[in-house]
């Protein structure tokens, strides 16, 4: 083996190392979306709307944006309840950024999933609904969530 081929090998090895480390640093900057304790309120039979709650965590190193939510249980939107001088109002949040190492908590009187046009086949005590959370970076995340009464 001459010096030139030695150099070639060293060069290739270095390139491989550089590529690998570049890949690594890229991977470090990915968001990582996880969901926790999701549930949907089984509404009293006369109600045409209901809410869902849970936690969306981003344990990754980059932010991600929740772009869209769909479900087999009905039409669904991300809503936020806000109280201003004794009056509660709900606003539709079309999309929301979840920063790295942070979480979006959906709970009563705050952020919530707002369901309408409820599917009578899905809305049965103890059954599960499928939720598709579409993120800008992480793509579509599918979760199965329990429907149960809150009383």
């Amino acid at each position: 083996m001459n010096n030139l081929s030695m150099l070639k090998i060293v060069f290739i090895m270095l390139s491989v190392l550089m590529l690998a480390s570049a890949g690594n640093s890229n991977a470090d900057k990915q968001p990582n979306i996880e969901t926790e304790s999701f549930w949907i309120v089984l509404p009293p039979e006369v109600a045409r709307h209901t809410a869902g709650y849970g936690i969306i965590k981003n344990t990754g190193e980059a932010s991600d944006t929740l772009l869209k939510i769909t479900s087999n249980a009905g039409a669904v939107m991300l809503h936020k309840t806000e109280i201003q001088s004794g009056k509660a109002r709900m606003t539709h949040i079309p999309n929301i950024v979840i920063e790295a190492h942070s979480e979006l908590v959906l709970k009563p009187m705050s952020f919530h999933l707002m369901f309408s046009d409820l599917s009578p086949v899905i809305f049965i005590d103890g059954s599960k609904a499928t939720l598709f959370l579409e993120f800008e970076q992480s793509g579509i995340i599918k979760i199965n969530i329990l429907i149960r009464p809150n009383w």
Binding site: E45, V46, A47, H49, T81, S85, G86, A88
Partner: protein, 214 residues
């Protein structure tokens, strides 16, 4: 008037957090908030608010399609009522007034409220009756604009054929913004305190007990 109400609410919130240890609290009459009115109970019978004279009343506004706020409020009221003794419960009435009488028929209201506590009183009525009650309590409600909802979300995922107008009406259930104040009313029908689901239940119970013992 609304500013006054907000100030009163603020003062009452502030005062209860500052004097938790005080056994007896002064609960001054909040003049200009509340009064007698006519409505319809969950059996479809006409009822006058004066009918509850002699009971301590906690009155709230809401509607059955509320989804997030009202079920939470009723859950809170359930805990509040459950914290009273049987004797105290007998001397107290929890009243839920709908701000959506078109959708919330007495039957709807009965079924909705029954999920939380069968003792709770649901009141509906004509639109005029409801608007009068809302104005008496210096409350507010607004229908949320459908324009806020993007069309892809209105898309029906469960298409239905409307058998009749009643069915069509049910499916057009609206969403509203509304006052979430909990009005504490004494045995003479006078409003004595404005509370909120943020009030610790034990504190609220003390106030109810105080009014029962007056």
């Amino acid at each position: 008037m609304l500013n006054k109400l907000a100030t009163l609410a603020f003062i009452s919130l502030f005062s209860c957090s500052s004097f938790i240890v005080t056994a007896e609290q002064t609960l001054p009459v909040l003049s200009g908030v509340g009064g007698d009115f006519s409505a319809m109970d969950t059996n479809g019978e006409a009822v006058e608010f004066n009918h509850y004279a002699g009971k301590v009343v906690v009155l709230a506004f809401g509607y059955t399609n509320c989804a997030d706020i009202c079920p939470f409020t009723l859950g809170y009221l359930k805990r509040l009522y459950g914290g009273l003794s049987a004797n105290e419960q007998q001397k107290t009435r929890i009243i839920f007034v709908t701000i959506d009488p078109e959708y919330d028929t007495p039957g709807h209201l009965k079924s909705f409220i029954g999920h939380f506590n069968k003792d709770f009183v649901g009141l509906s009525g004509s639109q005029e009756q409801i608007d009068y009650i809302v104005s008496l309590y210096q409350a507010e409600y607004n229908r949320l604009s459908v324009l806020n909802i993007p069309t892809q979300n209105i898309r029906r995922v469960n298409p239905k054929l409307f058998a009749d107008d009643e069915q069509a009406k049910e499916d057009n259930a609206s969403l509203y913004s509304h006052t979430v104040t909990l009005y504490l009313i004494d045995k003479q029908g006078l409003t004595r305190s404005l509370e909120y689901t943020g009030t610790p239940v034990e504190q609220f119970i003390k106030k109810i007990q105080q009014l029962i013992n007056e």
